[in-house]
Symmetry: C2
């Protein structure tokens, strides 16, 4: 396996932490999760059955825009920091078992289908780096070079796929690549070029078949059918962000927040106070839902019956619930300023919502819309539950 | 809460077992599972990451046709025996923490969305009984009575639904009911009558929206749209089992084995050497796939790209794989006599297959079709992995 010079130059820091198993409680890990306390570089470890915090882990670096994936045994959280930090946290002992700073600036990552490899999408230097989930040993990289000078592209929208592959977008190269880690190291398995200008984020549908990249440089999206090895990237939803008259955009919506609810996809119309309703068969817009303000996340309850929406500043105190069959807004919450993220329990009976400026997590029953619990958290942002370990594209 | 006299008469046996936590290994439970050894009344506890058996649990009674659900923390398996036994097994300590014999003859069960209640479908006496997942304390029952004499119906096809409900079929009453457990005890929330003659098994789609019951007394199926509280049961797929000329039926196919793969549903054509391909939108047959013999289970890989099929005696040595986009048979295995069940790892990179008469579990890579592992097991039948804890209708 060849390791690039740039990779060796990246600063790495290994923390040797003894696991004191005797101190930890024997327990199942299927109902665990983490809450990111971005200002403190810390994680809360939470229990979604008892709706309580069970421990806290510090020393995780810059967690603004941090995201998390889980090992296939649902014991370890892999935390991607904005500062290029990659940390492996044991949810049972509340310890950082391994931590490296693998790049200067990174934007998230994914875990392979078989659970053996964690991949990180980097801005500086660009490209994707691969590490063993067991101990964060480097396993190589894909530099994501493009153009005559072989510049490295920023990489975004990195997702895991069936057949142990990954897919990601090259922001600077208007390209989408797929890759896998073989015994000889990382291999690019597909290169799709001219997908549209500046893909800035992406998602994969729950079945791992369709990859959709948002385009920062154009008013449309790139769609790839990954079941077809000869597929050309398709352009979909041209003009979806524009509407009749563009509004100022306070925050680009997250594509990971897109909802696939049965046969429909709900997505934020950029800058507008609307969700677009798109039919998955054909990828055409079939309707719009008027909502409170500019949507940021629109997330389906696991059964697809409801879509929960939060909003950009200055309306980020509000959460609305859309009933999918009627497309009606059936609930409207004012939870306080700074609603940043929402995560459903695995079977969807409750949703956990981070309210940053009130230093609080709210837990709401998704049937009755009653408030069923709260947790204190210091400026909470992302919430991630271990059931993600068993889902493609999380 | 009112507890029926018949319930108090049911023989119960509580096993007090001390949990010796110190002996058990601290570990995640997201990659655990169980294999039923039906002849021995035993379970193997298995690890799907290391592909090995980690422990064995005995004393579970008659496990012919046994099924298993998991607690929401993925630590406990609830085992439904044919003899009415309900056992709670700790996967970490390999101990039976609680066991009752709650009826004379039962056919499976389900766990509520919030994980607090386990429900059992009974033949003798008929009806559904509810128990606390924490300790199997009885929480009441629904007697499922019908007709002028108030006879109790055999209950089949019991599944969990969103909003903490359950749905089940009354075999003797040609009916489908929904129910939930409130603080005052079990409540019937919906009664659908004249659904068709003798519903014998059922499934719920992965989104918890559609419930489909097979009819033993007619050549068709009953479909209920659970999103519509005023829904009438629909009759679908009339004549699906007949084809041009009926063949002898060696084994009624399992409906739980039905595959929902994207927009298509694959189901065994009763008595014929075919799978029916049904479009979910409209529930109409859109094609057939010729297969080796009479299919029993047709199970989709979690991403819906493949459907794996096993067959009735005397062809139960064979497993075939259908590629969904081309509807072609792309792999054909002869694994030895008595292939009874197949279970995919949570993200589908491998499938575990029980080969009863060879006392073996085979593990096959679903991309390369290579044989990647084997485990010894005494007459193995059902295989169940803990990721089911986080899925509706499992």
């Amino acid at each position: 396996m060849r390791i690039d010079r740039l990779m060796l130059l990246a600063p790495t820091l290994a923390l040797a932490v003894a696991i004191t198993a005797t101190a930890a409680e024997l327990r199942g890990t299927g109902d665990l999760g983490v809450v990111v306390e971005r200002a403190d570089g810390a994680l809360l470890i939470v229990d979604t059955t008892e709706r309580r915090m069970i421990d806290r882990v510090e020393g995780l670096g810059d967690l603004s825009h941090a995201s998390v994936v889980f090992s296939r045994d649902a014991r370890y959280a892999f935390v991607f920091g904005r500062d290029g930090g990659l940390s492996r946290v044991d949810l049972l002992t509340a310890e950082v078992t391994h931590r490296i700073v693998q790049a200067g600036n990174s934007i998230g990552g994914a875990i392979s289908q078989d659970g053996s490899v964690v991949a990180v999408a980097n801005y500086e230097p660009g490209g994707v780096r691969f590490f063993a989930t067991a101990d964060l040993t480097p396993l190589g990289e894909i530099a994501a070079t493009y153009g005559p000078d072989g510049a490295r592209s920023k990489v975004v929208g990195l997702e895991d796929l069936p057949n142990n592959r990954f897919v990601f977008s090259l922001y600077d190269a208007d390209a989408i690549w797929t890759a896998r880690l073989d015994k000889d190291g990382p291999t690019v398995t597909g290169r799709f070029v001219d997908v549209g200008a500046l893909p800035y984020d992406a998602l994969v549908t729950p079945d791992g078949r369709h990859y959709i990249a948002g385009l920062f440089g154009e008013d449309g999206m790139a769609l790839l059918d990954l079941w077809d090895p000869a597929a050309e990237p398709l352009r979909i939803l041209d003009g979806y962000g524009r509407g009749e008259e563009p509004l100022p955009v306070y925050k680009m919506p997250h594509l990971k927040g897109w909802s696939v609810a049965g046969d429909l996809v709900f997505l934020p119309a950029i800058g507008r106070h609307e969700l677009l309703v798109v039919e998955k068969a054909g990828w055409k817009e079939v309707g719009r839902v008027a909502v409170h303000s500019q949507p940021v996340f629109a997330i389906a309850r696991p059964d697809g019956r409801q879509v929960w929406v939060n909003f950009a500043h200055p309306d980020n105190n509000v959460v609305q619930v859309i009933d999918v069959p009627s497309l009606a807004v059936v609930a409207d919450f004012d939870l306080g300023p700074g609603v940043l993220h929402m995560e459903f329990t695995p079977k969807g009976e409750a949703v956990w919502i981070s309210v940053r400026d009130d230093d609080r997590i709210d837990i709401i029953d998704t049937e009755t819309f009653e408030h069923v619990g709260s947790l204190e958290a210091a400026k909470p942002s992302g919430i991630f539950f271990t059931a993600r370990a068993h889902r493609l594209g999380y």
